[in-house]
Structures are given as C-alpha cells and as structure tokens.
C-alpha cells in the first residue's frame, strides 16, 4: 500500500511539474505573440497576476497580498522585458530555455540570494520557530561576518586554521590524484595484455557508490579490526626493527583523522584522473613518438616534450574540476569523522560549514561563513582562469 501511495505521490508531482511547464510555455507564448498590441499591456498586467493569485489561493487556501504584489511586479518586469528587450524575436530559443532557467532561478539563484539575506540576519535554534510562524528574523547587520573571523565555527578550531587546512587538503589531494593518475595511465598506455581488465579493476573506487566506498575504507582504518592496522602489526611482528623506527598500529581515526581522510580521498580520486589522462594519451598520434625516436629522444625527453604539452588541454580542465571538487568535498570528511561528538581535527571549510548549520544549528552564522567561502573560491577560480586564459593565448 505504501508503495502504491509513494508512486502515486511522485507521479502526481511530475504531472504537476509538467502542467507548470505547459503553463509557463503558454504564458511566454502569448507574450511573444501579442507583446506589441496596444491592449496587451494592461490586459496582461491584470490577467496573469490575477490568474496566478487564483491558483495560489486555491493551493494555500487564502488571499495573500504580498504574493499578489510579487506577481504584479514580476509581470511588469516581464512585460517591460518583452516591450524593450526581446521585442518578440527569438521565440523558439527562449521557449526552449524557459523551464530550465525558471528551475535554476527557483532552486539555485533564489537559494543563493536567500543565503545572502540570512547572513545579515540572526537565524538560530532559538529564532527558527519565530521565523517559521511569522517569517521574521532579527536583523544582525555585519555581526555574523565579524563572528566568522573571530569565533570558532565549531567548538574550538578557528577560521584561519580551517583555511590553512583546506588549502593543504586541496593541494595534497589534487597533487596525488594527478601524480597517481598519470603514473597509472602511462603504465596502462603500453601495449600489454589484460589492459581492459586492469582498467576495469582500477576504476572500481570511482565506480562504487561513494558512501559505501568511504564507509568501507573507514572500516579498514579501524584501530583493531581495520585491515591497515592488522597489516602494520603483522609487519612489526615479522620485522621488529620497524617497530623501533616508530612504525606500528595507530589510532587512525582519532589520532590522525586528516591523514586518514586524505589517504581515503586519494584512493577515491585517482581513477578519475587516470581515465581522463588515459583518454588524452590515447588521442596522441603515435607518429609524434616515431618522429621523436628518429630524432633520438629518450623516454623522459619524449614524456617532457611530447606527452606533457599534448596532454595539457585534457589535463587542465580535469585539474580545475578536481580542485573545485576537492575544495568542496564534504562527503569524505563528514562520513569519516562522523557527526556530533566527532573530532574536529579533520574538518575543512566546507565540512565545518555543514556542521555549523546542521550539528550546531547556527544557521545565519553558517550562511555568512558560506558567503565568505564562496567569495574565496570565486576569487581563486577567477585568478586561476585568468592565468589559464593567458597561458592559452601564449600558445
């Protein structure tokens, strides 16, 4: 019964969305068709907000003057847009784009703006009920931003420590991803047997559901039952001199959480880089290597002067993506260090942000924190892309 009801619920929702899309298309279609008629401006200004209001009244069960004024303003904007900017041209592309961009506006742009709004107010566990019932939150000005730099997002670690840790985390991960991926891709790019089979095995960490992969790896780092410590203790038993060098089983999860997370994430991330680089390597025509052989280049010279420059157009976007992904990687850290009561020693900016919001319930604080992190990432990306463009033009 439950299953039937869930199917019914979801299909109903999809039908609702389809109806919404149809309404949207119809709405824009009539704007395209009649935007230049003299009667259309006042008629549309009356008809569409009234219609929207009727629908919203039916759904929410009551007249809402604020909603009405929003609709009125939106309609005015759309009308003005058609009269002065679009002028009824380019009907087809705008109709094709409308659903996707309304979706993006509602679920990407609006949340973003809402986040900015939150960051200037004070929403926390004590004020959230008030917000839920009345829609009002106390104004806080720049307080949240000041707090981001002065108080700890969690219980002890400071913003600056988190920033440093994030940079270290991002850099070391991307470095090992590229180095490991490159090495494996070079090995696989030889004419060897079982190539396809090896490749299949090597992409398994990427192919596994991340939650399973991370939780499984976390198990392997368990101090007693984990594979890593079992191997370490067997090694020290067999070769006692290792123990004297300080090598032995350790409490990975509580003593070295960041290192553990890094090892796990490197394990997870190498296959993607390997696949991308392998694709790039295979697209390099072998005639370049033949020519280099005739010119008498050694293996490393070929690597340096042919492979690297030719792989760069494939590698750069992958590295850019990888950097952003690693910077934003909450999954690994959150899943490894757990939720409340977990250690803070492995947290990076984004995981602290998530924990501040949902473990410590400091909503507005985390919003301000998020804006700061976004600004940081934006700044880094823009600088980086500028450098990338400049490098592109040089070539």
């Amino acid at each position: 019964m439950d299953i039937l009801r869930s199917i019914y619920e979801v299909t109903g929702f999809i039908v609702l969305i389809a109806l919404g899309v149809a309404a949207l298309e119809g709405y824009f279609y009539y704007h395209f068709k009649f935007h230049d008629r003299s009667w259309f401006f006042p008629a549309a200004l009356l008809a569409f907000p009234a219609l929207a209001l009727a629908v919203s009244a039916a759904v929410t069960g009551g007249f809402q003057p604020r909603l009405w004024s929003w609709f009125l303003m939106a309609e005015l904007l759309v009308l003005a847009g058609f009269k002065y900017a679009v002028k009824g041209r380019h009907t087809v592309p705008y109709l094709l784009l409308a659903p996707a961009f309304v979706g993006l506006a509602l679920l990407l742009v609006y949340p973003f703006v809402f986040e900015v709004y939150l960051s200037f107010h004070d929403l926390k566990l004590t004020t959230i009920m008030m917000w839920k019932n009345t829609g009002k939150i106390p104004f806080a000005g720049l307080d949240q931003y000041v707090k981001v730099f002065t108080t700890s997002p969690l219980s002890e670690v400071s913003f600056w420590a988190l920033l440093g840790r994030t940079l270290l985390w991002t850099f070391s991960n991307v470095f090992f991803h590229v180095a490991g991926g490159f090495a494996l891709a070079l090995l696989l790019n030889n004419a060897i047997r079982f190539k396809g089979f090896y490749r299949t095995l090597l992409v398994i960490p990427w192919a596994m559901p991340q939650v399973v992969a991370v939780l499984a790896m976390r198990g392997e780092f368990h101090s007693q039952n984990g594979f890593v410590n079992i191997i370490l203790s067997k090694l020290t038993a067999a070769f006692p001199f290792l123990a004297s060098m300080g090598i032995g089983p350790v409490q990975w999860l509580s003593d070295y959480p960041l290192l553990t997370c890094t090892i796990i994430n490197v394990w997870l991330g190498i296959p993607f880089m390997m696949v991308v680089i392998l694709g790039g390597l295979q697209s390099i025509s072998s005639s370049y290597y033949d020519a280099a052989d005739i010119d008498g280049a050694s293996y490393f010279q070929k690597l340096r002067f042919i492979t690297l420059p030719l792989i760069k157009p494939v590698l750069m976007p992958a590295v850019t993506l990888g950097t952003v992904w690693t910077f934003n990687n909450i999954n690994v850290i959150y899943l490894v260090t757990g939720q409340a009561g977990g250690t803070e020693q492995a947290d990076i900016l984004v995981s602290a942000l998530y924990k501040a919001a949902f473990t410590y319930n400091r909503y507005s604080y985390s919003a301000a924190f998020a804006i700061v992190v976004f600004a940081l990432l934006f700044f880094i990306s823009v600088t980086y892309l500028h450098g990338f463009d400049a490098a592109k033009e040089e070539r």
Partner: protein, 283 residues
C-alpha cells in the same frame, strides 16, 4: 644474436615490472570491496576477527537474510529509486531542451546564460543545502519524497546542459534543414530528428543525474528524519553508525547496492568517459 637476446630480456623484465605495478595498484583498488564481501559472509560471532582470508570459515548468508528481514533496507532502496528516477527524469527533460537552445540558436543573453551555468559549478555544494532546507521546511515538505526531489532536481542541470550541448553541436545542421524541407516545424525537427539521435548523450546525462542523486547523502541527512523515509545512504550510515554491532549487515547492504551500480557503471563507462571528455575538452 646475443644483443638481440639482451633486448628481448630487457623487454620481458619491463613487461613483468609493468604488470607487477598495475596488479599491486589494482589490488589496492579492489581490496576494500572484497573485504566488504568477506565481512558480509562472516558468521555473527566472528565479525571482529582479525582474519584476512576472503572467504571466512563458516561462511553464511545470514547477514543478508537478517538485513532484508529485520531492517527496512528494501524500503530504503525503494525510496532512493523513486526519488532518483523522478529527479533524473525532470533534470534530463529540462536539460535536453535548454541545451538545444544553446547549441542551435543565437539570441541575446546566450553568453550570460552559459556563464551562469559555468559559475554555478563554483558554488560550494554545502552552501545551498541550508537555504534549500529552510525552503523545504517552509513548504512543509520535510521528510517527504517531494522535498528530496525538489532539492535534487536542478543540482545536475548545468552539467547535463553542458554535456548535451556538446553532443548536439556534433550533429550536422543539415539534418534539421532536411527535416524542415520535408515538412516539420523547428520543434518537430528537434523532437523527431535530434532527440532520437542523441540517445547516447541523453543516457549519459541520465546516468550522471542518476548517480549523483543515488549516492547523495548530505541533503538526505537534513531533510529526512524518520527511518521509514530514509534513502539507502542514510540507512547504511545508520547501520555502521555509532553501534558497531551491525557491521555484518552493513557489509551485506553495501554489497547489495554496490553490485548493480558497479555493473551499470562498468557497462557504460566508455560512454560516460567520452561524455566527460566531450563536456570538458570541447567547452
């Protein structure tokens, strides 16, 4: 002759070395999966042994049985499947038309739209969870499928649009022109010619949407709170969670969700990779 032998020997050594390194790397990649498998087969009293053998003594499927019987694992899978299918369907439909507009038409705002898509990739994933969570709360959709679908549906949209645009760009325009001469409208040409031809790219986009939503954990964590509504990621985390007693069931559940995903992934990996390179390189 002897020189030839030396070259031959060196080549053999090189090959053996390459194989050895790759096999070691492959072992590291596969081992955790095999370990889960082995743990899932362990009888209840040996869960915490330090035994490293793959098939443990007294191997049993009891963990699987109790997982399916004593927990709501099937229900979790069903929840995940429903949410994921719905979001992928919505995401791909929206992306397919938007990508077509970007690929074939010139219109004011095209560049701005593409920049918006690209820069949306820069927004930290964790950043939008909070406002979405508050929106879903305000819409009274907490702990529902709809809340999850709303939260997921546009998350992969920019990437899907990008992939599909790249693919549409490779389809010659003359096909649509021929269709126009044959008597379709612009939209008809898209529906009857471009969409059927784009099945590979649509599958990639669908797969991408699917895996993203299927493996999602962080949003589910804050939107869903009754175990009946859990997705499998939440359920699995719960099993491993603080009470390490459920280790065997966790392993069994992991195997059950991993094997189909792995199969689909390996089957489609060639497409997926070509799609990724298409999206990134062509840019």
């Amino acid at each position: 002759m002897s020189e030839k032998d030396a070259i031959e020997r060196r080549r053999t050594v090189k090959y053996l070395l390459i194989h050895a390194v790759i096999i070691l790397a492959a072992a590291i990649c596969v081992y955790p999966l095999l370990r889960i498998f082995s743990v899932s087969l362990r009888p209840g009293d040996k869960l915490f042994s330090t035994d490293l053998s793959l098939i443990p003594d007294g191997a049993t499927f009891k963990a699987y049985a109790s997982l399916l019987k004593d927990t709501m694992f099937l229900r979790w899978l069903w929840n995940s499947l429903l949410i994921t299918l719905a979001t992928s369907f919505i995401g791909v439909s929206l992306a397919s038309t938007a990508a077509y507009a970007f690929s074939r038409f010139r219109f004011p705002g095209k560049k701005a739209g593409l920049i918006l898509l690209l820069s949306s990739q820069m927004i930290p994933a964790g950043m939008l969870i909070l406002p979405l969570f508050l929106m879903i709360m305000k819409l009274k959709l907490m702990n529902t499928y709809l809340g999850m679908i709303i939260a997921y549906s546009v998350s992969s949209l920019p990437f899907s649009i990008w992939i599909l645009k790249g693919y549409y760009d490779t389809i010659p325009r003359s096909l649509e022109e021929a269709a126009l001469v044959d008597g379709t409208s612009q939209v008809g040409a898209f529906w009857r010619i471009i969409l059927p031809l784009s099945t590979p790219a649509l599958s990639i986009a669908f797969l991408f949407n699917f895996t993203t939503a299927w493996n999602e954990y962080l949003v589910a964590r804050v939107v869903l709170f009754s175990s009946k509504q859990y997705t499998w990621t939440l359920g699995l985390f719960e099993l491993q969670g603080q009470y390490i007693t459920q280790w065997g069931m966790f392993a069994a559940g992991s195997m059950l969700v991993t094997i189909p995903v792995l199969a689909v992934f390996l089957y489609s990996s060639k497409w997926l990779i070509s799609g990724l390179t298409l999206g990134s390189v062509k840019g």
